[in-house]
Amino acid sequence: MSEELKFHFVVDGDDFTSAGKASVQVKKNLRQLGLSPETIRRVSIAMYEGEINMVIHAGGGVADVTVTEEYIEILLSDKGPGIKDIEQAMQEGFSTASDNIRSLGFGAGMGLPNMKRYTDYMDIKSTVGVGTDITMRVNI
């Protein structure tokens, strides 16, 4: 691979059932590139958690995935309510999700910690009332 590959997805915030579609597509694309199952799994789990977060907290957003020779970068961007206290949000078990979200199997307070766990680099930029941008990288 001599050039960067880029994938762009719009994540629909109104449809919980379809949440995760972009991550499934990324997983397929990465398989076609012949990357290791371990790398593919780390990227797709981190992106999937981020995608779910965008749907349940932010009304959707956009996801951009860039594949270079050295790493895979995932940029998730939303115009949701923002994260008040990022340090608190990073703690395992902390969640602001409603009971309704929990009944759907999410909101255990593991999303952001899982994203950090599976990536080599993660940066969160968030402004309350404006939105959140999350950059993650998995080294190849």
Binding site: F16, A19, G20, R41, I45, R102, G105, N114
Partner: protein
């Protein structure tokens, strides 16, 4: 443990991908919270859950799991079955409750961590 053995131990119905019953699973995870499932990667695992929505199938797909068991007589929707077929994930359904289903698999040699062919 072969998926066909799981089916027998749990008295489960095969909902889809019946041609994959000879595949092996090496570990198991029982949860209704998908982020807890996503927290710990297991090798070729089976997921036991009482949660019924499309995200169960996507979570299993993300984790490279090859079998999902719905407990407490829960049945997946047509859309979920379609998704599972696309990914080649076997779906089983049992009337046993989570505790009993997990206990049966564990006591028959399928432990939480990776184990050799059982």
């Amino acid at each position: 443990m072969k998926i066909s053995t799981i089916k027998e131990l749990l008295g489960a119905k095969v909902i889809c991908c019946a041609d994959e019953l000879d595949k092996h699973v090496y570990s198991a995870c029982g949860s209704d919270m998908m982020s807890d499932v996503l927290a710990y990667v297991k090798d070729q695992a089976v997921l036991l859950t009482g949660l019924v929505n499309s995200q169960v199938i996507r979570t299993a797909e993300m984790m490279d799991m090859n079998c999902i068991v719905f407990v407490r007589s829960k049945m997946p929707t047509a859309e979920m079955i379609e998704l599972a077929e696309e990914c080649g994930i076997v779906i089983l359904a049992t009337d046993k409750r989570m505790y009993e289903a997990c206990g049966l698999l564990y006591s028959n040699g399928l432990h939480g961590n990776r184990v050799k062919n059982v």
